[in-house]
Symmetry: C2
Subunit: 451 residues, 2 copies
């Protein structure tokens, strides 16, 4: 791993833009040469599209592969399109096979076969293995460079073997103990190798009770296990317990980050990580689904009000007060739904405790309804000097907050049980319910009581 | 580290609840004995408060310390209150000093002095060091058990030293090279120790160009660097480059998770991670601030409508249509603000590209406004057969979506520049602006054009 200095100031983004403006490409190259590939990726992401391509052209071919790996997919595809085939092949060849596998989906078929042709047999086999697992599984996440030893040799022999072997793969903190047919028997940490008597046998000191993942395990589960058990690395096996590779925590960190990002974005009804400088057209495409759904729900809310136009015509104060009922309901509903989505993501909700959750949220909404609904009733009275109107206001607030609580718990739970993403657009849905519901409750009560 | 088996099925939560119901505490203990402390913590979190205390009483004292570390603060405080002083001291003593430091804020002064008294001198000094840094800094995050070597010795000597020393601290993948006065000179990975010629000197093979953190560095920055540079561990130094400790990636994973959680929660206007089974009173306290703010903003929106009651009285259709303008504006504004908050959190926005962002978001909103506003204009016409009303609808949609875009970019950027959390309650704020703004634009245009 290139050990980068933290290039903090002067800001490379500013330096690069200044160099670009004076058309000094040599200076751009000089700035880039000082940066870690991950920093170059961040720099490229922060640039508007025109400058981005100009800077990308100045990146060293050797670093290009690493930079591409660090970029979000949208940006990566754009920048790959800027390269001729020979440059892509040169850039990709400098990478580990499992990293090449991550880039493959973005490449054309012609390019893929050229790359396969350029690899030696072992690497080609490894690439085949890496490509045979879905990206979002343990198999897709693993590195193929696990170092293995046999259980019946002594630590002395392990030490000699490692010294003869030379440099270990990046982030190696353990050796994997396998039998003749590659079945995983245990794990031997490097620190154990260094601190035990060289006369001991591997079988005497290896961990047997290890956390391992079958290659088809979803990456979310892998990430949860790494987080919960504080793992640095873990072996990946096939269904016959044969060692396939190892997962290291740095890749898991990316999964955790992506999961959290996805949750935040989908709560707001965004489809995917968006390139900050995506074109207007791309952005509209990313966001349109939930806006369209929102339009339908808003239309329904509007029709609910339409039902009561006669009532509003006779007491126009209702038109002013109704958005308060709907708005506060939407806000508290969003709080509830966020809590539940989080708890589901962290695996904290099961059938056994769902009922207790409903009870709690309804309790909270009752308390909020009485306090805030009461306050709003007083305000409504002060504005319009009508006790019945004030009472309608308070009652509608209590009922709508309870509706928000029930829907806020139920929507994500039901989606979860149906195997859907509980976060996806839940904000739009809860708002739809508290809007239409709020208008209906408030105007309905007003029609009953005041007309 | 205890290497836990993934206890997947049968579900320990169900087993425990069943055992509790039949009052079979021995079986509860048997279930707990099989579990990793992190799994016990997850189990406790998933239990309603009464059962939680009953199960907590059955946890082995030796595991209690580890379990407490894994619990969110709200639950931890409750469970600590269940223990008598002697049990707390016993539970805490089994932990590393830096872990004890994490628990200290939750303990009474009496207990803290008893614990200090129970520690030996070296551990007491370490605890002092650990406590002297804020929790959310590199110093608060570090372990104090870095293994150090001198630069002028040979690998042969390092090997002998390590073997004599015996077991290395958990998650040790590197040794730190320091001079006589503990100044950090470089890092020597265990894999390097194992694979180079024992005759070489440490100074010849150590990494000098290392990423290190001054103890006062905010934990967010540490996490970002770990993520960006794929680190497994990194040294922490004081302002004179003297080695204080090391940060390992497993603790950084927790920071990344907490940051992401905080962002999700604060977007919804929630103060902190909430115990799923917090009492109604605790929950109301966690959520009330933003509800109160929302009440004020909803009241303002209501008063904006109040200004136009005369207009609504003459054309009650406006009351039905106005929530569409406000609602769709709120939804798109929320999408924009989520994007910007994310980009700020990932450090992708700077002064140099803020202007381009505004331009893009306004472009998107214009396009959405024309498309969806046009569609809504048609629908309004079909419902109410009035061309002027349809035009007002379309124009109001376009203007409110542009307002949503500008506010969606500006609110988080301004909060960021003021050094505030850009996520905090931004959903409530953007909705406030698109509601009041939407009502004002729509009803104002209607008054001008239709009256």
């Amino acid at each position: 791993m290139a050990r980068a200095r933290k290039a903090k100031k002067p800001d490379p983004l500013k330096l690069t833009l200044a160099a670009l403006e004076s058309n000094d490409l040599a200076r751009v190259r000089a700035v880039l040469a000082e940066l870690h590939p991950a920093d170059i990726a961040a720099l490229l992401e922060g640039l508007p599209p025109e400058s981005r391509v100009a800077v990308w052209r100045q990146v060293d071919t050797e670093k290009m592969g690493e930079v591409l790996l660090e970029l979000p997919e949208t940006v990566r595809t754009d920048l790959l399109a800027q390269l001729d085939d020979q440059t892509v092949i040169a850039a990709v060849r400098s990478l580990d096979t499992d990293d090449i596998a991550d880039l493959i989906p973005d490449l054309s078929d012609d390019l893929i076969s050229e790359i396969l042709f350029a690899l030696d047999k072992q690497d080609r086999q490894r690439l085949d293995t890496a490509l045979s697992f879905a990206e979002d599984t343990a198999g897709g996440l693993m590195n193929l460079d696990a170092v293995t030893v046999r259980e019946n040799i002594t630590i002395e022999v392990v030490l000699r073997y490692l010294r003869r072997r030379g440099e270990l793969p990046e982030h190696t903190n353990s050796l994997f103990v396998v039998d003749r047919t590659d079945r995983l028997l245990g794990v031997l940490s490097l620190s154990k190798v260094l601190t035990t008597d060289p006369g001991q046998r591997v079988s005497q000191i290896m961990y047997r009770d290890i956390i391992k993942f079958v290659a088809t395990t979803p990456d979310k589960e892998v990430a949860a296990a790494f987080e919960r058990y504080n793992l640095l690395s873990a072996p990946v096996v096939d269904e016959n317990n044969r060692l396939l590779g190892r997962i290291t925590v740095d890749d898991v960190v990316d999964v955790i980050r992506e999961e959290a990002d996805r949750e935040i974005l989908s709560l707001a009804g965004l489809r995917a990580e968006e390139d900050l400088f995506a074109t207007v057209r791309q952005t509209v495409r990313n966001r349109w689904t939930w806006i369209a759904i929102n339009l339908v729900t808003a239309f329904i809310a509007s029709r609910v009000i339409g039902l009561f136009e006669g009532t509003i015509e006779r007491l126009v104060a209702l038109a002013s007060l109704m958005p308060i009922v709907a708005g506060v309901g939407g806000n508290t509903g969003n709080q509830t739904i966020t809590m539940i989505v989080r708890a589901l993501a962290l695996g904290r909700i099961s059938e056994t405790n769902a009922r207790a959750l409903f009870a709690k949220e309804i309790g909270v909404s009752l308390m909020n309804g009485v306090v805030w609904g009461g306050l709003l009733g007083v305000i409504a009275y002060l504005l319009y000097r009508s006790v019945p109107l004030a009472l309608v206001m308070t009652a509608a607030m209590i009922l709508n907050l309870m509706l928000a609580a029930v829907a806020g718990v139920a929507i994500p739970l039901v989606r979860h049980r149906l195997g859907r993403d509980p976060a996806q657009g839940s904000s739009v849905m809860i708002t739809a319910i508290t809007d239409s519901g709020g208008f209906f409750i408030f105007l309905g009560l007003a029609t009953l009581v005041l007309m």
